[in-house]
């Protein structure tokens, strides 16, 4: 009974957060759901994602410009190894595709606590893939197709993280890594106000819902 009441409160909070999008804003809502393999939800949050970092704008600039390869040094965003890379327009730019176990692209989770800055180039403390101590198993990235209402258009990026390391994992930071010109870049980084606990044997589902409002 107590659990049902808590879930109802979360639903109310979802509505408030969605309305927090400003008119004309393009942004993300970040949905976090911890559930058992049976599907029973043990925690559910929706918060507004706050931090597109500079690499997102730099790659968007490259695509809007249709920057040819000969000018790839025109902008040199830093990849996730903190190396400046010449980037040009490419069909794979902005790709967030990642298979299970891949931690170089797509949605990434971590334990870092430092608040985001525009110059962040990676998660502060990424959680590695695996079933050992301090590790979590990364599922494959999936994508929900775009839809529109009278006031908003949106689509969804999703990834599951399964904890079988024998103890709880506490997720404090999240981000989205994308590809540009074959390199990996941090596009979004968020640090949660409080950690999400993923108990041993449970799954964390992360949805980044990119949306634009009128």
């Amino acid at each position: 009974m107590k659990q049902q009441i808590e879930l109802k409160q979360e639903v109310k909070q979802i509505k408030i957060n969605r309305e927090a999008m400003l008119p004309g804003e393009f942004g993300c809502m970040l949905e976090l759901t911890v559930h058992k393999p049976t599907g029973e939800v043990t925690e559910h949050r929706i918060v507004k994602s706050k931090s597109f970092v500079r690499q997102f704008l730099e790659i968007l600039w490259v695509q809007c410009y249709n920057l040819p390869s000969i000018l790839a040094g025109g902008t040199t965003p830093k990849d996730t190894s903190n190396t400046a890379r010449g980037v040009d327009q490419a069909s794979g730019n902005f790709s967030a595709v990642a298979a299970a176990g891949i931690t170089t692209n797509g949605i990434i989770v971590g334990t870092g606590t430092t608040l985001p800055t525009v110059n962040d180039y990676k998660l502060e403390v990424p959680i590695p893939h695996g079933a050992g101590a301090g590790q979590i198993q990364y599922g494959a990235m999936t994508f929900g197709a775009p839809t529109a209402t009278a006031s908003m258009s949106q689509f969804r990026l999703t990834r599951d993280f399964s904890n079988s390391c024998g103890e709880s994992i506490f997720v404090k930071e999240l981000g989205l890594y994308v590809i540009a010109s074959g390199y990996y870049f941090l596009a979004i980084r968020d640090v949660l106000e409080s950690s999400v606990e993923v108990p041993d044997g449970e799954i964390l589902t992360v949805n980044y819902e990119e949306m634009a409002t009128v």
Partner: protein
């Protein structure tokens, strides 16, 4: 991320006369579709992954040779009014490139994008209504032609300077052409290359006044019957000269209250000999998707004046 819309009016000797600034209200579903396709690397409703997706940088004017340049891409302006919506696929009343002036509002074709799902208001000879995907069509339905087919409709051309339409055609190169005729006289013909996609074809009808019959014909040149697709037939009145659409000033740091931005901008020059009011703006990105739409109180350009429209995406951490 929010986007600032900057509107600046200049005299013919480049002096700033008027400056307005507002937040852009609407990235449309088109923008989200392009970003989704790039994120997922999956096609969506005929929209494919491409190195050029999201391109808004463009050459000036209009070119019938380069389907991805000129007024077909980048910032566009119009004279329509209303409240933008995420599902918008074009300006309400677009202004096209040129120097012509029309005193009144242009008449529109009835059922111009075939969204009735049939040929209501059109005379049809052999065309069929389709609702599949070829990427750039407007709305759900379009017309498929097989060689010697046509559709036609009578329209008052008095306030119309140009007609545009989307065209996709030819599964074999150079065996099919597409014709536009007025009262049976061909005024425009284009030979279609293999699987060629022409998101905006422009036909000048400024020499006509009064009501005339406009016919769109698929014409077989050689070989077997070939298919072509037609959609989104629009009319335009007064014209402005489109400058190139440029991308500049990518910068980071503490910029007022935000941390990063770049600028997309374009000049529009009025050489029509009369005043033209602009009330809406937007952006079109490769491969022809309408990605942003804004309306505002009229900015009136007298003859010789310039309008600079800038979209400035800004991120704040």
């Amino acid at each position: 991320m929010r986007t600032k819309l900057l509107l600046e009016r200049f005299s013919d000797d480049d002096k700033l006369i008027e400056r307005r600034e507002q937040f852009s209200r609407s990235f449309t579903l088109g923008f989200m579709r392009l970003l989704y396709v790039q994120h997922s690397q999956l096609s969506h409703s005929g929209l494919a992954v491409s190195a050029s997706n999201l391109q808004v940088c463009s050459l000036p004017g209009y070119s019938s040779l380069f389907s991805s340049q000129g007024q077909m891409f980048g910032i566009v302006v119009g004279s329509g009014t209303g409240t933008p919506a995420p599902s918008d696929t074009c300006l309400y009343t677009p202004i096209c490139h040129g120097r012509l002036y029309r005193a009144g509002a242009p008449a529109s074709f009835l059922n111009p994008s075939f969204e009735t799902g049939d040929f209501t208001n059109w005379t049809n000879s052999g065309g069929t209504i389709q609702n599949g995907d070829w990427g750039l069509k407007n709305g759900t339905y379009y017309v498929q032609f097989t060689s010697e087919n046509y559709i036609q409709q009578a329209i008052d051309l008095t306030n119309i300077s140009t007609i545009s339409f989307q065209l996709y055609g030819g599964d074999i190169a150079d065996q099919l052409s597409f014709r536009v005729s007025v009262d049976g006289v061909i005024i425009n013909e284009r030979v279609l290359a293999r699987n060629s996609n022409f998101p905006l074809q422009i036909v000048d009808v400024s020499a006509y006044t009064g009501t005339h019959t406009i016919r769109f014909t698929s014409h077989k040149l050689t070989g077997y019957d070939r298919t072509s697709y037609l959609d989104d037939i629009r009319t335009y009145g007064s014209q402005l000269e489109f400058g190139g659409c440029e991308i500049t000033n990518l910068r980071f740091g503490t910029i007022n209250a935000h941390n990063g931005e770049f600028t997309v901008s374009r000049f529009f020059t009025n050489h029509s000999g009369n005043s033209i009011a602009v009330t809406e703006a937007g952006m079109v990105a490769y491969p022809g998707l309408f990605i942003a739409h804004d309306t505002f109180g009229a900015i009136t350009l007298t003859d010789g004046q310039l309008l600079k429209v800038s979209y400035i995406p800004q991120i704040t951490v």
